[in-house]
C-alpha cells in the first residue's frame, strides 16, 4: 500500500476517496456544529486533504502516526473508522475515546494512530519516543509525526528533532505549514523562509513540497520513510498548504483577506487531483463521480450510525484514570 497515488487506477481511486472522505467528514462536523448539534470546538483541515492523504499512503499499516488538534484527516488517512470518529464527536459511548477525548484526542491504536494532541507540539517528542521503541526492538517500523507551522516554534520541536537526529530514529517529521499559527503568519513567526530550512540545524535532510499536490507529498514522504526505515534517521518534510476555514470555531478570519482565501480555494487539492487522474486516463468522469458519491454515502451512514449510538456514560468516569494493573 505504499505505491504512489498515480501508480494505477486503484491507487488513484484510493487517494481520491480518502481526500473526499476527509472533506465530507469535515463538512459534516461543520454542519453539525453550525446547527448547534455538536458540542465543544474543533479544528477543520478542509483544503489540507492532500497532505494527510499523500503522507499516509507512504506508510505501511504497521507504521505509526502522531497527529495534531487538526487531525481528522490523519485519522482517516491512516484508516480510522468513520462511525467511531463521528460517535466521539457526538459524545457517544461508542466513540474512539468513549466521549472522554473529543475531536482533539482521537487515537486508534489498531491502525497505528498514537493520537491527536491538544497541545501544540505535544506529539513530537512522543513520536520520537515511539520511534526509539521500534529501534530498540529492532523493528523496521516508522513513525510519521504530523505537526503545524506553529509547533515548529515550540521548544518540544527542537528537543525532539535533535534527539531523533542524534539517535537516527525512524521518524519522519511532517510539518503541515498552513501559513498561520492561529492568526500569526509564518512570515512573522520565522526568520527563515521555510520550516524545512531548520533541518540543517539538526544535521538531517529537509524538504519543502506543495502540500496541495497529493502526488508530491507522497513522493517526499515516501523518500523520507525509506530513509528512516533503512536506519539513516529522520527527515523534515514541509507540506505547504492552507486551511480554508478559521483556526477553530471561534475564528472570525480577521487576520487574512478574502482574496487570499479565494486564491487558495482555487488550489483545491481535490479538484486538482480529479483533473490529473482524468488527464492521465486513470479514472473517467463517471468513476470520479462514483468516488464522490461513495464518500458522501459513507459519511451519511456514519453520521446516522453514530447518532443512534448510546450517549457516553458518566457512571464510570473514574475507571479509566488509571490503567488496571
Amino acid at each position: 500500500m505504499t505505491s504512489a497515488p498515480l501508480a494505477d487506477a486503484g491507487r488513484a481511486r484510493h487517494a481520491l476517496l480518502t481526500m473526499w472522505t476527509i472533506r465530507r467528514f469535515e463538512e459534516a462536523v461543520d454542519d453539525l456544529f453550525a446547527r448547534g448539534l455538536m458540542h465543544g470546538t474543533m479544528h477543520l483541515s478542509i483544503g489540507q486533504e492532500a497532505s494527510a492523504t499523500g503522507a499516509c499512503m507512504a506508510l505501511r499499516s504497521d507504521d505509526a502516526i502522531t497527529s495534531t488538534h487538526r487531525g481528522h484527516g490523519h485519522c482517516i488517512g491512516k484508516g480510522a473508522d468513520l462511525t467511531r470518529m463521528m460517535a466521539e464527536l457526538l459524545a457517544k459511548e461508542t466513540g474512539y475515546c468513549r466521549g472522554r477525548g473529543g475531536s482533539m484526542h482521537i487515537a486508534d491504536v489498531a491502525t497505528g494512530n498514537l493520537g491527536a494532541n491538544g497541545i501544540v507540539a505535544g506529539g513530537i517528542p512522543i513520536a520520537t519516543g515511539a520511534a526509539l521503541a521500534y529501534q530498540l526492538r529492532g523493528e523496521d517500523r516508522v513513525v510519521a509525526c504530523f505537526f503545524g507551522d506553529g509547533a515548529a516554534n515550540e521548544g518540544a520541536f527542537h528537543e525532539a528533532v535533535n534527539l531523533a537526529a542524534i539517535w537516527k530514529l525512524p521518524v519522519v517529521f511532517i510539518c503541515e505549514n498552513n501559513k498561520y499559527g492561529m492568526s500569526f503568519s509564518t512570515e512573522k513567526s520565522m526568520a527563515v523562509a521555510h520550516v524545512a530550512d531548520r533541518a540543517s540545524a539538526y544535521g538531517i535532510p529537509g524538504v519543502t513540497v506543495d502540500g496541495n499536490d497529493v502526488e508530491a507529498v507522497h513522493a517526499a514522504v515516501a523518500d523520507a520513510v525509506s530513509r528512516a526505515r533503512s536506519g539513516a534517521g529522520p527527515t523534515l518534510v514541509e507540506n505547504v498548504t492552507y486551511r480554508w476555514k478559521g483556526h477553530s470555531k471561534s475564528d472570525k478570519n480577521l487576520y487574512r483577506t478574502k482574496e487570499e482565501i479565494a486564491e487558495w480555494r482555487a488550489l483545491d487539492p481535490i479538484v486538482r487531483f480529479e483533473a490529473v487522474v482524468q488527464e492521465r486516463g486513470l479514472l473517467d468522469e463517471a468513476a470520479v463521480q462514483a468516488v464522490r458519491d461513495e464518500a458522501m454515502q459513507a459519511m451519511r451512514e456514519a453520521v446516522r450510525a453514530a447518532n443512534a449510538a448510546p450517549d457516553a456514560d458518566p457512571s464510570d468516569l473514574l475507571d479509566a484514570v488509571f490503567a488496571p494493573a
Partner: protein
C-alpha cells in the same frame, strides 16, 4: 431540485442565537456554496454568513432580527448533494451501533489495556475516592481509642469536667453529641440534690485538692452564661474548686485506711519535713503499683505515666495545688528545699507554671490542723489521693501488751475504674515499707 435551507450558523462556542442585520442577496439571485448572503450580529462581532448550498434563493425567512442557531434563515432551490448532515440527527433511529470491539494492541506492540468494558472490575477507584469513609473501627465491636464525640461536644465536656466515657452518646454507634453534654449539664444544675452551684462534696471537704489540672480554672466561662459582676478572688477559687470537684461525684471511688508507723522514719529523717518524706514515699510506691499511675480518660484507663503528685496547700487566699513531677527522683534534701520554696510562694499567691502540670495523684495533709483522719475526694481524672491525719504517739499492740508508737492515719482513696482494693492495700504496704527503709 430540492428546497435547501440556509441556517443561522453557530459561529463560536458560546453563540446560541444571532441577529440578522442585512442581506447581500435577494430572492431570485443565484447563490453558490461559500457566497456571502447576509450579515449577522452575534454576541461578539458582526459576521458574514456564507451559503452552505448552491441554487436559486427562493425565500428569505428572516429579513432582520434574532434567530436561534440552526434555524433556517432562507431557502434555496437547488441540487441536494446530501451535505445537510444535521438533518440525519433528527431521522428515526436506525439499528443501534454495536458496542465497540476492543482494539487489537498486538499490531503496535502496545500493552493490552483494552477499552474498559462493563465486566471490568471498576469500583475500586470510585470507592477509594468517592465513598464516604467508614469509621475504621465501625465493625470491630468496642472501639479502641478515644470516645467518639463531635468536636464541640468534646470541648463542652472538657469545660464542664465531664468524663466522656461516662456519657451515653445518642449518635450513631454511641457518638457523643453536643446535646448529650448539654443535657448532662442541665440535669446537674437542676437537680434538687444539688441546690447550689458548689456541690456539697466540694464544700464539705475543704481538704479536697483543688483543681490539679491547670486547664480547668483557666477555662473561660460557658459562652451562653449571662454577663456578671467581676468575682472576688475567694469566689473565683470556690468556682474553680466546684468546677474541678463536682465531676468527682461521678467517679466510683473507695478509701482504704492504714495506721502508718513512723518511728523508724522519724529516727532518720533529720531535718526533712514529714511532707517531704511522705510525698517521696507515695511517689516511689506508686511506681510499684502502675495501675494507680493511670488516669481514667475517655472511657478507658490511659497509659501509666510517671508519678506526678499534686500537693494541697491551704493558703489565706484559698487552696493551691502545686504539682511535683517525679518527686522521688532527686535527693530528699533537694525536694525538701523545693517544697518549702513552693509553699512559701504559694502563700504569697504565686505559683510557678512549672508546678501547674497534669497530676495523676494528690497528697492532702490536715494533720497540722488537729485532724485525726479524713476521707479525701478524688480529683478527676487522677487515680488516687492520699489523706494524712495528725502524727502522734498512739497506743499500739506490742509483744506482751500495749506500747506507744509514732503513727498517722493514712487514707488512700482510689478510682475503682482503674484499680481495686488490693491495689490500694498494696500501695499502703509499699509506703510503710519505704518509711521503714531508706527515705
Amino acid at each position: 431540485m430540492a428546497r435547501l435551507a440556509i441556517r443561522m450558523p453557530k459561529m463560536s462556542m458560546t453563540m446560541t442565537e444571532g441577529e440578522v442585520s442585512s442581506w447581500m442577496v435577494k430572492v431570485g439571485d443565484a447563490v453558490e456554496t461559500g457566497d456571502v448572503v447576509c450579515e449577522v450580529m452575534t454576541d461578539k462581532v458582526d459576521m458574514e454568513v456564507e451559503s452552505t448550498v448552491s441554487g436559486t434563493l427562493v425565500e428569505i425567512v428572516v429579513e432582520t432580527g434574532l434567530v436561534d442557531v440552526g434555524e433556517p434563515i432562507a431557502w434555496v432551490e437547488g441540487e441536494d448533494d446530501g451535505g445537510a448532515f444535521g438533518d440525519l440527527l433528527s431521522e428515526p433511529d436506525p439499528e443501534p451501533e454495536p458496542a465497540v470491539p476492543s482494539t487489537d494492541p498486538g499490531d503496535l506492540g502496545v500493552p493490552d489495556t483494552g477499552v474498559p468494558d462493563a465486566e471490568a472490575p471498576s469500583t475500586t477507584l470510585a470507592a477509594e475516592t468517592r465513598a464516604p469513609l467508614a469509621p475504621p473501627e465501625a465493625d470491630q465491636g468496642a472501639p479502641a481509642g478515644p470516645v467518639a464525640a463531635v468536636p464541640r461536644a468534646r470541648a463542652l465536656a472538657r469545660q464542664h469536667g465531664i468524663d466522656l466515657g461516662a456519657v451515653t452518646g445518642t449518635g450513631p454507634e454511641g457518638l457523643v453529641r453536643v446535646g448529650d453534654i448539654e443535657a448532662l449539664v442541665a440535669s446537674a444544675t437542676d437537680s434538687p440534690a444539688a441546690p447550689t452551684p458548689a456541690t456539697p462534696a466540694a464544700t464539705a471537704d475543704p481538704a479536697a485538692p483543688a483543681p490539679a489540672d491547670p486547664r480547668a480554672p483557666s477555662t473561660t466561662d460557658v459562652p451562653s452564661r449571662p454577663a456578671k459582676a467581676p468575682q472576688d478572688r475567694r469566689t473565683a477559687i470556690r468556682v474553680a474548686v466546684a468546677r474541678a470537684m463536682a465531676p468527682s461525684a461521678a467517679v466510683p471511688q473507695f478509701t482504704v485506711w492504714r495506721e502508718l508507723r513512723l518511728d523508724a522514719a522519724d529516727a532518720r529523717r533529720g531535718r526533712l519535713s514529714w511532707t517531704t518524706v511522705l510525698l517521696r514515699a507515695y511517689a516511689a510506691s506508686l511506681r510499684e503499683v502502675p495501675e494507680l499511675l493511670s488516669r481514667w480518660e475517655d472511657g478507658r484507663p490511659g497509659p501509666s505515666t510517671p508519678p506526678s503528685i499534686a500537693l494541697a496547700v491551704a493558703t489565706d487566699r484559698g487552696l493551691l495545688v502545686p504539682t511535683f513531677t517525679e518527686p522521688d527522683v532527686d535527693t530528699a534534701a533537694d525536694l525538701d528545699g523545693e517544697i518549702r520554696a513552693v509553699v512559701t510562694s504559694a502563700h504569697a499567691g504565686r505559683l510557678d507554671p512549672s508546678y501547674m502540670g497534669l497530676a495523676n495523684a494528690s497528697l492532702s495533709n490536715l494533720g497540722g490542723m488537729g485532724v485525726d483522719r479524713f476521707q479525701a475526694l478524688l480529683t478527676p481524672p487522677q487515680a488516687s489521693v492520699l489523706s494524712l491525719g495528725g502524727i502522734a504517739q498512739r497506743p499500739v499492740a506490742v509483744p506482751g501488751g500495749v506500747g506507744l508508737a509514732l503513727t498517722l492515719h493514712a487514707g488512700l482513696t482510689v478510682d475503682h475504674r482503674v484499680a481495686d482494693g488490693a491495689h490500694a492495700a498494696q500501695l499502703l504496704e509499699r509506703i510503710q515499707h519505704r518509711l521503714d527503709g531508706a527515705l
